[in-house]
Each structure stands twice: as structure tokens, then as C-alpha cells.
């Protein structure tokens, strides 16, 4: 147990002598990188603060209060915020607006992106019919679906998925959003690979960034439902 865990600043000249021991060992965090568990909590902070701003006009908030709202510990709040470079003020807390801005910026919410939606399956249609995407800075340019070709959804005429590849080459988009059935996903994914900067996949089959050549996030909302029924745990009542 000879603890060699260098602190960030310890030396970022570290020439990484003793090679990577295994493919499965997670890459050590580079300097300034924020650990995944922290990142994953940021949207919760974001939503909590946004509400706070909408409802009150609170100027400041303490780690204890944030912690209570998010059901995590005050220590964790302070660690998280210090990770993303936010500083509070002793004896005072954090400035609400300032914190909200910092988190928004870290999440890339302040920027604007263009996207195409591929597939109306499950929650896909909701993305074309509501303003959910707009609210997050994402502007939908086109909608594709293998079965609804030619239909009209809101302001969009649904295009044939077969033309996705050509469309992306010609028009481009920052993000491709997939909401397809399993059978259709694989082909569409390879059509989009290398042509976008990010993939958001709300289909039930996962994609990976090695396959797409860019960051990928999968979300399957039914997973959450299964976790609920798991927690409800069979018997009782």
C-alpha cells in the first residue's frame, strides 16, 4: 500500500512510466478533468438551481442547503463544486446565479447545436412535437423515420431514413438523435458515423463512441422503470 496517488498539481509532466496494465483499468484523470460521478450529478444541480431562480430571488445558497435539496452530503457538494472550479465564499456560501452559470457552462448548455432526429419510436416523436430540444439549445433541422416517410410532424416533413447519409454529408449537423427500433438502428448508426460531433441515442439498443467516432450518450427511459419495479421488490400489499 505504497500510495503514489499524485495530486493534480503534483506533476503534469508525468511521463507515465509504468504502462497501462490493462484495457479495463480506467484511464487516470488528466489534469483538470472532472470525474464522471461528479459530471453525472451536474444536471441535478442545474435543475435545482434553475427552479430556485425561477421561484425566489435568492442571492446565495450554502452547501448544506444544496445538499438537502439534492439529497446528498454537504461535503459532496463542496467537493463537486470545487472540482468544476466554482468557488464560494467562507461564511457566506455560493452565489446562486454565478453557480448556475458555471454549471450551465460546464454542461455546454449555453451553446447552440443543430441536430437531426432519426426515428419517431418511443419518445422520439415527443422530441419533434415539443420544445424540449429548443430548451437545451438544440435546433432540430430535419426528421427521419423508416415508416413515417412523407408524414408531417409539426413543422417537419418526415424524410426517408435511407437519405440520412446523403443529408448529413450535404447539410451536416452537430448532433444526431436516434430513436429507432433495434432492427433499424445499426444501419442508421453506420450511416451517421463520422459525420456528426455527438450522438444522443434514446433507442433501446446501445451505441458506443468507438463505433461512432464521437461522444455518445445512451438513455433508455424504461431502464428507470425497471429499476423502480426492482425497488418495489415483488411481494407486499
Amino acid at each position: 500500500m505504497n500510495e503514489e496517488r499524485k495530486t493534480e498539481s503534483a506533476m503534469f509532466t508525468d511521463l507515465e512510466i509504468g504502462a497501462i496494465p490493462s484495457v479495463h483499468r480506467k484511464q487516470k484523470l488528466r489534469d483538470g478533468e472532472v470525474p464522471e460521478p461528479v459530471i453525472k450529478r451536474l444536471p441535478r444541480y442545474f435543475r435545482y438551481l434553475r427552479e430556485l431562480i425561477n421561484e425566489n430571488d435568492r442571492l446565495r445558497i450554502s452547501s448544506a442547503e444544496l445538499a438537502e435539496g439534492l439529497h446528498i452530503s454537504p461535503s459532496q457538494v463542496r467537493q463537486d463544486l470545487s472540482c468544476i472550479g466554482q468557488t464560494g465564499q467562507q461564511g457566506y456560501g455560493y452565489g446562486v446565479i454565478q453557480l448556475y452559470n458555471k454549471i450551465s457552462e460546464t454542461l455546454g448548455v449555453k451553446q447552440r447545436y443543430t441536430a437531426v432526429l432519426v426515428g419517431l419510436f418511443g419518445c422520439g416523436r415527443a422530441l419533434a412535437e415539443t420544445t424540449l430540444l429548443e430548451q437545451r439549445g438544440v435546433r432540430l433541422k430535419a426528421v427521419f423515420d423508416p415508416e413515417a416517410k412523407g408524414d408531417r410532424i409539426g413543422q417537419y416533413e418526415v424524410l426517408d431514413t435511407a437519405s440520412l447519409c446523403e443529408y448529413l454529408s450535404a447539410e451536416g449537423a452537430d448532433i444526431v438523435i436516434f430513436s429507432l427500433k433495434e432492427e433499424a438502428l445499426k444501419d442508421a448508426a453506420s450511416d451517421a458515423a463520422g459525420k456528426v460531433r455527438g450522438v444522443w441515442n434514446i433507442s433501446q439498443t446501445e451505441l458506443f463512441s468507438d463505433q461512432m467516432g464521437c461522444p455518445v450518450r445512451n438513455i433508455s427511459i424504461c431502464d428507470s422503470l425497471m429499476l423502480l419495479t426492482q425497488a418495489m421488490g415483488g411481494r407486499e400489499k
Copy 2:
């Protein structure tokens, strides 16, 4: 602010000599309990195996192969499966069907539940219009919305959210699903508290089980989109 927030079960056996050092320290796992990180991976195994079954008629699968499909390590696969009590066979692997069944059972997917949907906001409407819920064993009994009262959605006539409390008292349901705007959520949540066995909340504001008196799972699909834009990280292109 003297933090007295005892966890629900905080003492029903508290023989545990050296008492709980802090409210924030996680409860030690009881025997046979499956750690949260393992549980959270189960839906991914579930979906992967389901596909495997639909596409091929593979009889067996090794931890190495599962690991490759899920982008995790073979060790982790073996640990996970051993956690939920699944056993493979040395030199052979795991029986695909048997494993699928075990995971389905652990997740409570084999059981049937009744539910009411409260709110058509965001993806809520999709839950009433598609078979997503049916596919997970959840039968929708009624739909409520504060704004669409009286409308017809699929087979449902939309009821007034104001009648939710009464409905649940009279008719009951295993699960309440919330997809409401922030302003409407708090009231509806307190109307449902104590009247259901589980809460699935796809609204953007979180609920907690101490508040609802039963297991709660929150999911906000836009969180996933924010994690994508975070990973896309600003510049480039």
C-alpha cells in the same frame, strides 16, 4: 441546522455496536442485498440478452462476450452475476435463457402492475400513446392532466388532476407516473403520497421516497442530453 435525518430503517435492528457515525454514511448492505451499481447495470444486461434471444438462438454466452457487448470488464460481469445469484458453469459460460430469466426476475419485469399517468408534458404523452408501458408489464388505468382535461388520448379520456387523490383512494394503482411541469408536480405528488407502491417520475423536478413513502425513481431525459453536450466539450470542428 442540527441534521437529524434518520434513514427510514435507521434502527430496526440497531445492534450494530459502533453506531452510525453520520446520516450521510451509506447504510451497510444487508446480507443478500445487491449493491446499487450492480442493480443499475442490470437493465443493460436485460436489453442485451433480449436482443441476443431475438436474433440468434444462442444457448450460451461467456462473461468475456457479455463484457464485450456491454463495454465492461469480464471480471465485472462475473461479479455482477454472482451478486444476483446467477451461476454459470466452468468451461461453458452462462445459459442465455436462464440468465435472462434471472435478470428479469430480479428487476421485477415478470410481474404485472397497474399505473396511472399524471401529466402529458414532455414524454408523458408518449407513454399513453405507445406500448412502452405494456412492454414492461405496466397496465395504464387512467390518465390525468391539468390542461388537457376532457381530451381523448388513445383509449383514455383525460381526467382532471384535481381528481387524482380521490381516484387513487377509490380505485388504487400500484404505480403513479408523473410527467408534469414543475408548478403542478408538488401538489400532485402530495395527493398521491402514501397511496401507491411506487413512483416513477419523468418530470424535470425530483421527488424523493421520504416524501412519497415508497420507492421513487426520477428520470429526466434531458439530463442525458446535457451530458452529451458536456462531453462534446465546446470547441472543435
